[in-house]
């Protein structure tokens, strides 16, 4: 009887301890519990995008969701890959400014577009597999009105923080390749500072639109 009491007390304490510990590391625990696989990363990422509201009515909530979505993207790597040689040639300040602007482009422009794209459409995950550099998740967005299924492929790479999306491919067009095409063209025409200026201009416009206009 005493043994039974001791065991149950221990277990209760252990439970309390576990609860306390788990409470202590709650955010990380939640995330790690939900996104411990590449597919889960993509699912959560898309759900986060879907949860956003445009135009933004609740800035705090929007900022929280943006932060959450950002956590699934390896945008620094994507930006470096898209710049390639230009990254090597750019100054530290330019690199920093570039990445900051690229993040803002994604936050202020791409997320809204993705949100609109996803709408209430159903997303299926017909295929996923590993490749030499990471993991590939194939998704299909069903657009029944247009009798069209959009196939979007997410490429993920294992980072210290977990799986992160490092490219999005739609109909054979890679987001990195597209960014590279645009960066090359702008830098060729008007230098690296021209690229930063163009990105800032686009951002200013998008910010205004996000406050209440259409994209």
């Amino acid at each position: 009887m005493i043994f039974k009491y001791i065991v149950s007390s221990f277990l209760r304490l252990l439970g309390i301890g576990v609860f306390c510990v788990s409470m202590l590391f709650a955010p990380a625990a939640i995330i790690s519990a939900e996104v411990d696989s590449p597919k889960a990363v993509v699912e959560t990422f898309l759900e986060t995008l879907r949860a956003m509201e445009f135009p933004v009515s609740n800035s705090a909530r929007h900022a929280q969701l943006v932060k959450k979505a950002n956590a699934f993207l390896d945008l620094d790597a994507m930006g470096q890959k898209a710049l390639r040689d230009h990254w090597e040639q750019a100054s530290v300040e330019d690199r920093r400014d570039f990445l900051a602007l690229l993040w803002q482009q994604i936050e202020n422009r791409a997320y809204r577009k993705s949100h609109d794209f996803l709408g209430n459409l159903k997303v299926t995950y017909p295929e996923s597999h590993e490749d030499s550099t990471g993991f590939v998740i194939k998704t299909v967005v069903r657009q029944e009105e247009k009798v069209l299924d959009a196939e979007v492929i997410y490429h993920l790479r294992q980072k210290e923080e977990g799986w992160k999306i490092d490219d999005v491919i739609l109909d054979d067009v890679s987001l990195i390749e597209d960014l590279k095409y645009q960066f090359d063209k702008i830098i060729r025409d008007s230098s690296f500072s021209g690229l930063l200026k163009r990105m800032q201009e686009r951002l200013d416009t998008a910010e205004k639109e996000n406050q209440g206009g259409d994209l």
Partner: protein
């Protein structure tokens, strides 16, 4: 009088005694001549200006026999709806094939083979460009669809059109691809008529048939479609009709103006009608002579009627002015007629002879236009002279008797010779100053080589032809090189195209043979098209998500990408006929100019460049541009030559007649100064000479010589030495004659045809210059010399020291 003027007396007696018989004889001759005159046709084709055996004419005939010439009736079809344009072109082509006046129809892109192989006619690099466009378009939509797409470039939606892509052969531009211009698509259907260009009756019927068919097609289509006619058949027809309408309108106005002037001067309708009737008889005889000798009038001799009217009425005026003057002092009509013959018989005959010889001298020209004109005008002047010399007094006498008319007794105003030194010197000085000014204007004289500047202003068919030329980027006036076979045509076209590549300043745009209509590098192109088709197939999912218009375009492109090989047998019959004729015995190479040959200088350089290629002997160069250039060359060579010869002959005749060089100089001085002043007026008003108004120069020369003869006669024979004396009778006639001519030509200023209007302007300045020099400047000069040098010379002669 009897001793001095036996011919005048004999003529007067003849008229007095046989006036009725003379008129009866003239009437009989006119009745005989009229059927021939009525049959006189106008051949408006410029082909009739060269001898029938001229090489360019025989070559053109050969070309016409083989392939029906190089001219078309072009039907331009326009609409904002591309499909409607295509359908209208196909419908019209099908209907036109049944028209009795149509030899063949070229709606080259209407055939199924052409339609399905359309992309094969693009250059290989353009097909790669098209491939790139497909890539760009698909890429654009894929990027647009990418939910993470960040647009930094503001890319415009790529266009999938093939209109701006380069065709492998420029000849494919002619109706090859329907191009959009200012929101309108255009297609051309080329109709080759069976009849020659100058057969306006059949052209008119063909236009009517096309317009009826077009109206039916317009009703059957949902989208509005417009049809426009142009091409040599239409522009030539329009020009002919504009000239005809101008001639009718301005001719009527000329007659009214001349009648008013005559009536104002003579104040008797009987006199005006008598002079018109006698002149009309002479013109009928001249027309009958033209019909019997040549058979037709060409575009140059067509001015004959106006010229005969202008010169012939002068004879009547001189006769009537003198007759009226003499009638006031003569005791009876016989004496008045006799004195009139005595006064103007010799100068009128001299004038008629010199003018007709001047015209006859044109017959030595190789240029048929001048030869016919010279012959008919030369004989015509003499016939008009005869009919006026005997017909007019006979008519006056007969009508006097019939209506029992008595001439008004008016006091004769004696002309008192006054010497007004200041006035004469001022006139002389002004004349010399203007002559000096005119000399400075000679280098500024401009010759307008561009035939477009001679056409009706804003003529619809010409404006449309220019639009078509701009639309397709091809000048539709090729020269044909007739070769014995397809292979030699192919080699020749290649040789000329190679020449074009190596001569950047050439006037050749491109050369095309029948093989130019067979796409080259077909294997490579078909493979490329297949790759494109596969790429589109792979992107079907993206395409299905696009807007309807883009999807339709892509579907159309997909159909075109299925092109199979296009061979010689796939070339439509109508197009093959153009190159090889119905008999397929020759093969033609068409060489297109890169600038408008409406500009005569461009046309001449173009043909010269072709001739300088030293083509093989079995190749014949033919086409209307060749004939046209031959005419221009002959005109430029023969006009100054003919003018010089005419002038030389006139000088010779005058020398033989007067046997005195200074007399000849005096007779010619009005015309010499007249031409000089004409240059002055032309330079001052920026007037341009051209191929049309040059025709009037012999007439100005003729009238100028007439004036000189009459003035000289008055001065020398009748010893009238002051300006006032000279002008008292002869001057009046010269003034009236010149005024009637000026009035007649002034009417032409209202012509819609710019060539005709320029003719009126040149006539106006030419005859006005002649009038001023004849009645003011030269008489003033005579009076001046009478005042100073001649008196001094006479006194020296008298003293025996000269």
């Amino acid at each position: 009088m009897k001793r001095r003027h036996p011919i005048a007396r004999a003529s007067a007696l003849f008229v007095m005694r046989y006036a009725g018989w003379i008129l009866a004889g003239m009437a009989f001759a006119t009745v005989l001549a009229f059927p021939f005159a009525a049959r006189l046709k106008l051949k408006a084709s410029f082909l009739d200006l060269l001898p029938p055996d001229a090489p360019s004419i025989t070559h053109l005939k050969q070309l016409t026999d083989e392939v029906g010439g190089t001219s078309f009736l072009i039907v331009a079809i326009e609409s904002s709806d591309e499909e409607a344009v295509q359908k209208a072109a196909d419908l019209l082509s099908n209907q036109a094939r049944a028209f009795e006046d149509v030899e063949s129809v070229d709606n080259r892109t209407g055939s199924d083979a052409f339609k399905s192989s359309k992309l094969l006619f693009l250059a290989v690099d353009s097909l790669h460009e098209l491939d790139g466009k497909i890539h760009d378009l698909i890429g654009f939509y894929r990027r647009e669809n990418n939910p993470f797409f960040v647009d930094l470039l503001d890319e415009a939606k790529p266009e999938l059109g093939i209109k701006n892509l380069r065709l492998e052969e420029k000849v494919s531009r002619i109706g090859g691809f329907s191009a959009k211009e200012k929101h309108a698509f255009m297609r051309v259907v080329l109709l080759k008529p069976r009849h020659p260009l100058s057969d306006f009756k059949h052209s008119e019927r063909l236009f009517r048939h096309v317009q009826e068919a077009a109206a039916g097609i317009q009703e059957s289509l949902d989208s509005p479609v417009t049809f426009g006619l142009t091409g040599p058949y239409k522009t030539r027809y329009d020009e002919y009709h504009v000239i005809q309408e101008d001639l009718k309108r301005t001719g009527f106005l000329s007659v009214i103006l001349v009648t008013i002037l005559m009536f104002l001067f003579f104040k008797k309708i009987r006199i005006v009608l008598s002079s018109f009737l006698s002149l009309g008889i002479g013109i009928v005889w001249a027309c009958a002579f033209a019909a019997l000798s040549v058979g037709y009038l060409n575009v140059i001799s067509a001015f004959l009627l106006a010229i005969l009217f202008g010169l012939g009425i002068d004879f009547a005026i001189h006769f009537l002015v003198t007759f009226e003057s003499e009638r006031k002092t003569a005791p009876n009509t016989f004496r008045a007629v006799q004195k009139t013959y005595a006064a103007i018989g010799k100068p009128s005959l001299s004038s008629a002879l010199t003018t007709s010889i001047a015209f006859f001298s044109l017959t030595i020209s190789q240029f048929q236009g001048f030869r016919h004109f010279g012959l008919i005008a030369g004989v015509g002047i003499l016939l008009c002279f005869l009919s006026i010399l005997y017909g007019l007094p006979s008519l006056l006498l007969i009508t006097e008797k019939i209506f029992n008319i008595r001439w008004d007794e008016k006091p004769v105003r004696e002309v008192v010779p006054l010497r007004r030194v200041g006035f004469i010197c001022a006139v002389l000085l002004a004349g010399l100053v203007f002559s000096a000014f005119s000399l400075t204007q000679i280098p500024k004289l401009h010759f307008e080589y561009n035939f477009k500047a001679l056409q009706e202003r804003e003529a619809q068919a010409i404006v449309l032809a220019e639009r078509i030329g701009d639309h397709f980027g091809v000048v539709l006036n090729p020269v044909a090189l007739i070769t014995p076979g397809r292979q030699s045509a192919l080699e020749l076209a290649n040789r000329i195209n190679h020449y074009i590549e190596n001569h950047p300043k050439t006037l050749f745009d491109f050369a095309a043979s029948i093989d130019s209509h067979i796409p080259k590098h077909q294997e490579e192109k078909i493979s490329l098209l297949q790759e494109m088709a596969d790429r589109l197939e792979r992107q079907d999912r993206v395409i299905q998500g696009l807007d309807e218009e883009t999807k339709e375009k892509i579907q159309e492109l997909r159909n075109e990408l299925k092109a199979g090989p296009f061979t010689y047998q796939d070339i439509p019959e109508g197009l093959r006929d153009q190159y090889e004729g119905k008999r397929r015995k020759v093969s033609i190479v068409y060489v297109y100019p890169n600038a408008s040959i409406m500009d005569g200088q461009v046309a001449k350089r173009f043909i010269k460049e072709l001739r300088d290629l030293h083509l093989p002997k079995d190749i014949v160069m033919a086409g209307e541009p060749v004939v046209y250039v031959d005419i221009l060359n002959l005109l430029e060579r023969d006009t100054p030559r003919a003018m010089m010869i005419s002038f030389g002959v006139v000088i010779l005749v005058l020398l033989i007649h007067f046997r005195c060089f200074s007399c000849v100089v005096l007779v010619l001085s009005p015309v010499l100064f007249g031409f000089l002043w004409l240059c002055g007026f032309a330079g001052m008003t920026h007037f341009s000479f051209n191929y049309v108004n040059m025709v009037i120069l012999p007439c100005i020369l003729g009238v100028g010589i007439d004036n000189g003869i009459y003035i000289f006669h008055r001065y020398r024979t009748e010893k009238k030495t002051t300006l006032e004396e000279i002008l008292s009778t002869t001057g009046k006639a010269v003034i009236l004659a010149s005024l009637t001519t000026i009035a007649a030509f002034s009417a032409l200023l209202l012509a819609r045809h710019q060539g005709m209007a320029s003719l009126g302007k040149l006539g106006f300045w030419g005859f006005a210059s002649g009038l001023l020099t004849s009645v003011i400047f030269i008489p003033s000069m005579i009076e001046f010399f009478e005042m100073k040098y001649w008196k001094m010379i006479k006194s020296l002669k008298h003293q025996g020291s000269f």
